[in-house]
Amino acid sequence: MNFFTHFGKFILMISGMFTLPENWKMYWKELMQQCIEIGVRSLGIVSIISAFIGAVSTVQTAYQLISPIIPKATIAQIVRDTIILEFAPTLTCVVLAGVVGSKIASELGNMRVSEQIDALEIMGINTKAYLVLPKILAAFIVVPMLVIYSGVISILGGRFAGSMANILSTETFDKGLLINFTPYNVTFSLIKAYTFSFIISGISAYYGYNVKGGALEIGQASTKAVVTSCIAILLADYALASLLL
C-alpha cells in the first residue's frame, strides 16, 4: 500500500471516531485508564532520560565554551533554551513513540487478531470511538505534561551535574536561567508537544487497529508504528521550527 492509501485510511479512522458515546461513563473510564497507561507509566523512563540529557547538555556545553570572556552563566542559558526548544519536546516524544507507541499498536493489534474488536463491534460499540479516541485524547492531555516535566527535570539534572563537576555553581546556574528568557519558547515547546502527541497516538493506533494476520504481523505493526512515528516527529519538528521560529 502506498503513502496515499495509508493516509486516506488514517483520515477515515480519525473521522470515524467522532460519534456519540454509547455510555459516557465507560468512555470516561477508558480515557482515565489511558491517561494512566500513557502518562503515569512513562514517568520513570522520562525522568531518567531527562535527568541525563540535562546533565550531558551542561557538561558538553561547558566543554565547548572555552573562551574565558564568556560568562559561565551562559552555559545555563544555552542548556535552558536547548532543553525547552528541542530536548524536552522532541527527545521525550521520540522516546514516548517507542514506549507508548509500541504499546498502543501491539494492544490494538492483539485485540484485532483475537477478535476482541469484532466482539465490541457486534455489541454495537463504535470501536474507533471507544478504543482509539481515548488514546488520542489521553496523549493530548498527558504528553504536554510529560514534556513540561521533562524540561524541569532536565534543567535540574543540568544544574546538579554542573555543580558536581565544578563547572559552575548552582547560584551561577540559577542566574543564567533567568538571562534573556523568552516565554515564547515555552509556547513553542507546547505546540510541538501537542503536535507530537497526536502523531504518536494516531499513527500507532492506525497500525494496531488495521493489523491483519497473527503474532508476526502484530510485531511488524508495532515496529512500523514506532519508526513511522519517529520519522513523522522529526519532519514535524523541522516544519514547526521553520514556520514558527
Binding site: 454509547e22 455510555n23 465507560m26 469484532d118 455489541m123 454495537g124
Partner: protein, 270 residues
C-alpha cells in the same frame, strides 16, 4: 427467526458465497457446516453485520437489515450475542468484568443489580468460582463458557457461535454443545452455529445447512443427514472409515437389522 435470501459475498473479485438462502428458526440450534474455505465464516459474519453482503437480504424477525438506519442497527446489535472461535475475551478484564461489560455499556442497572445478573449467568454456565480470574488464568473450556455468559447476559434474541468447540476435547465439547442447546430452548433464542464438528451436528443439529464451495449444497436435520444420498455431504461427514462403519451400523439399528453379536460384515452382506 432470521431469514436470508440470495446472499452473495466476494472479496477482490473472488466470490466466496453465492446465492445462499435459508431460514434459521427460533428456539432451535441451526447449524452451518462445511469444510474449511466453504464460506461458512463469511456467511456468519454477513449475518451478524460484520460484512455487508454484495447481494441479497437478511431479515431479523421480518425486518430487513439493509433497510435499518444506524440507530435501528445499534438496537438490533444489542439483541445479538456472539461466541467467537477464540472466545474473544478482553484480556485486561477479569471474568466478572468481561461478563459485566455489556451491562456496563448498555444498561441502567445499579452495580448490585449488575452483579446479581452476572452471578446468575455465571451460575448458569457453572463458572462462579472463576469470577476474579483473568482469561489467561482459565482453561479453554472455561473461556468458552465465559464467552457464552457474556453473550447471553443482555438476554439476546439471537445467538451466534463461531466454531464453539474449536480446540476443546470431546467431553468438554459435549458440555458446551449441551449448554448452548439448553440456553436456546430456555431463552427461546434463534441460535446459529458454525461448525465442522460432527459430534455437534449429531447431538444438537435441529436444522443443518451444508456449505460447499460457497453454495448451500444441502439442508436438513440430524436424522435426515444420515440417510442423505448427497455425495459431497457424505464425503464431508463420513470422511473416515470409522465414521462410515458407524453410519452403516446406525442405519442397520434404525432398520432393526442389528443382532447381538453386531457382526458388521455379515450384516452388510445381508
Amino acid at each position: 427467526m432470521i431469514e436470508i435470501k440470495n446472499i452473495k459475498k466476494g472479496f477482490n473479485n473472488n466470490t466466496v458465497i453465492s446465492d445462499v438462502s435459508a431460514v434459521f428458526q427460533t428456539g432451535k440450534c441451526n447449524l452451518i457446516i462445511g469444510s474449511s474455505g466453504s464460506g461458512k465464516t463469511v456467511l456468519m459474519k454477513c449475518l451478524v453485520g460484520l460484512f455487508e453482503p454484495d447481494e441479497g437480504h437478511i431479515a431479523y424477525d421480518g425486518i430487513d437489515f439493509s433497510l435499518m438506519n444506524v440507530n435501528e442497527r445499534k438496537e438490533l446489535r444489542r439483541q445479538i450475542g456472539m461466541l467467537f472461535q477464540g472466545s474473544a475475551l478482553f484480556d485486561s478484564k477479569t471474568v466478572e468484568q468481561n461478563v459485566m461489560f455489556p451491562l456496563d455499556m448498555f444498561s441502567d442497572m445499579t452495580y448490585k443489580e449488575k452483579q446479581k445478573r452476572v452471578n446468575e449467568v455465571l451460575d448458569r454456565v457453572n463458572l462462579n468460582e472463576a469470577q476474579k480470574k483473568y482469561p489467561a488464568e482459565i482453561s479453554g473450556g472455561m473461556k468458552k463458557r465465559v464467552g457464552i455468559a457474556r453473550a447471553i447476559v443482555l438476554n439476546p434474541k439471537y445467538l451466534f457461535c463461531d466454531e464453539p468447540n474449536s480446540g476443546l476435547d470431546p467431553q468438554t465439547s459435549l458440555v458446551i454443545d449441551k449448554l448452548i442447546q439448553e440456553l436456546t430452548v430456555e431463552y427461546n433464542i434463534t441460535t446459529v452455529i458454525n461448525t465442522h464438528d460432527m459430534n455437534s451436528v449429531m447431538e444438537i443439529g435441529d436444522q443443518i445447512i451444508y456449505m460447499y464451495q460457497g453454495f448451500k449444497e444441502w439442508e436438513g436435520n440430524k436424522t435426515e443427514i444420515i440417510f442423505s444420498k448427497n455425495e459431497k455431504l457424505n464425503g464431508f461427514i463420513f470422511a473416515s472409515d470409522f465414521l462410515k462403519d458407524a453410519k452403516d451400523m446406525r442405519m442397520l439399528e434404525i432398520k432393526g437389522k442389528i443382532d447381538e453379536n453386531r457382526d458388521m460384515d455379515k450384516l452388510l452382506k445381508d
